[in-house]
């Protein structure tokens, strides 16, 4: 009779392939949207990676998607940076959603410097999240951002037009927002998981 080998030791030795990696039970960076966390591998934003958010128009709930995360991160040690936002963030509105504006830095850069500024912020390691609205970003530029986010342990969000959906992207997560008939989020790519077939609806949270 061969010796009895406990199953756990075989698993620990990584000699048994289990078909699919176990998803981490609790996310390191939850989005704050329970329905979205449930479908994302890792239970939230990919930590220290680039997430791409594709929009049909401005004002369709793109900030709502990230504001719970920003509110949570603004209570930490590190800063949040917005690189060339398309409009001014409304201080009262952001504060109503729980963001400490003292942690939010706004950077204005010319079109050519947006990606540079974003990379610098990501790489510095002193930013928890960097949000940018790049107009021109090719595959190589996004890959650089992905590497920078990884080395600086920061969340990177790139808000781009929906027409870029057809182009391949090195981002760890790609979400597409849809405004009509109601606000919904499609997961178009997620590293380390299967892309869900159904969109996640994004209910508007009434503040009062």
């Amino acid at each position: 009779m061969s010796a009895v080998v406990p199953l756990s030791s075989l698993l620990d030795a990584r000699r048994v392939w289990r078909g699919r990696a176990e998803p981490t039970p609790t996310g390191e960076q939850p989005t704050g949207w329970a329905a979205l966390d449930a479908v994302l591998p890792g239970g939230g934003w990919p930590a220290a990676a680039l997430s791409e958010i594709l929009l049909p128009l401005d004002g369709v709930g793109e900030l709502q998607l990230v504001l719970p995360t920003l509110a949570r991160l603004s209570r930490g040690e590190r800063s949040l940076v917005l690189v060339t936002p398309p409009y001014a963030p409304c201080v009262a509105g952001w504060r109503q959603r729980g963001v400490d504006m003292r942690r939010v830095e706004i950077v204005t850069a010319t079109e050519g410097d947006v990606l540079w500024a974003m990379e610098q912020c990501l790489r510095s390691g002193s930013c928890a999240a960097v949000l940018a609205w790049p107009r021109q970003a090719d595959d190589r530029a996004l890959r650089r951002l992905q590497v920078a986010a990884d080395s600086g342990r920061a969340l990177a969000f790139a808000f781009r037009d929906r027409r870029h959906l057809g182009n391949a992207s090195p981002a760890a997560l790609r979400l597409e927002l849809e405004a009509m008939p109601h606000a919904r989020v499609w997961v178009r790519k997620c590293r380390g998981g299967v892309v869900p077939a159904q969109p996640v609806s994004l209910p508007y949270v009434a503040l009062h």
Binding site: E77, P85, C90, I106, S124, C127
Partner: protein, 466 residues
Amino acid sequence: MLWACVLLPQLALDGVLRRRPTTGPLVLVAGAANARSIVAANAAAREAGLRIGQRLTAAQALLARFEALPYEPESVQRWQQFLAAVAYRYSSEVCLLPHAIMLEVSRSMGLFGPWPRLENLLRDEFAALGFRHRISVAPTAHAAYVLAGIADGQTVLTPGALECALQRVPLHKSRLPAAASEALPGMGIRSLGQLLRMPRDGLRRRFGAELLLALDRLTGAAPAGLDSFHPPDCFDLRVELSHEVENLAALVFPVRRMTADLAAWLAGRDGGVQRFTLRLEHRGGHADVPIGLLAPEHDAGMLFEVARGRLEQMQLAKPVLALRLIARDLPVFVPAGRDLFDQRPANALPIGQLRERLRARLGDHAVYQLGSTSDPRPERAQIIASRDDGRCEPHPRPTWLLERPMPLRGTAPRILAGPERLETGWWDGGEVCRDYYMVETAQGQRAWAFCAPGEQIGWMLHGWFA
């Protein structure tokens, strides 16, 4: 008392070489136009047979091609002052002797460790700045000066050892008054030991009290009598370029050197710099590049990066002949305290330095924070400021705010919430009277729009509930 002597035998030449590194023969010449002679020569020039004291014409006969630059006595003094300010980091009592910097180190060793370690620190510092040096240590300043002149690295730590060390010093190296050191060998006295055994009365009669005082200073019987050095309160460094520079890339190397010098100098006074000016001197004028920092800094890499960032943005109108770095605003440097349990990655660039880096490339006003005011008008409710008074607006506010309201075109939007009447500002001429609504456009965007009170036409878009 324990005095370290840093002897700088090639001060003028090193000052020239560090701004124009060359491997070819180079000499410094001085004297009247028709009788120039060599006062300093680099290794390549000496190998070719050029000697100090040689006439320039004789040197030209020996060697066809070499660089000859004018010797500037004031540059020697300037570099000595600069290095003394750098050395001030290692001792609170710094004195100057010709071509040497004296440091009283008996108390410095408590901070920097025993003499061998302190000696290494000094050597690294001077080597990094590009100055050749000889270092010795002795219980009296003048003895350290004499010993450094004989050989590098002489270490005499006790008065007893000093007595022995002085015995062997040849008289012509002992830096005694010229009259005595010329006459004494003729009397058969060739070393300091012999001289110290001579009766003092006879020496005084023959050579005067000057010689006895010099001897007493050597042995420590009389105080050194040196004025202590006080570092100046502003930094002013000028570097002449070897040729007219027309593109910015060629200025990067001298700027790196200058900012490194500034950082070394700042370390000497344990201070930081908040504002400095880089002056580009043209023929018949100059252009200033002001460099401002948000907080005092003293890190060489950071100062260089900021200076380069500013420099890269400017256009060179005329060729640059010389660079000058002037720093007058030198506040106390307060190092940023870091928490032991800091969650940032270990190699994180502090947020202050990140801001400086962004500002250097993108402009002074490129990085800002928004804070709120007590004004209810949305246009005036927020300003550029780093504060958060915690006042919470009771009515829903959007997340994006347009800089100024613009007409909302297209089909009439669907009203989701509202109105919120805003009627204010009558006291300062910026009167507003608006009904704000949260509306949904035909494309599904949620907007914050207003119209005149009571009407629901003529929508003006003022923000997005993005």
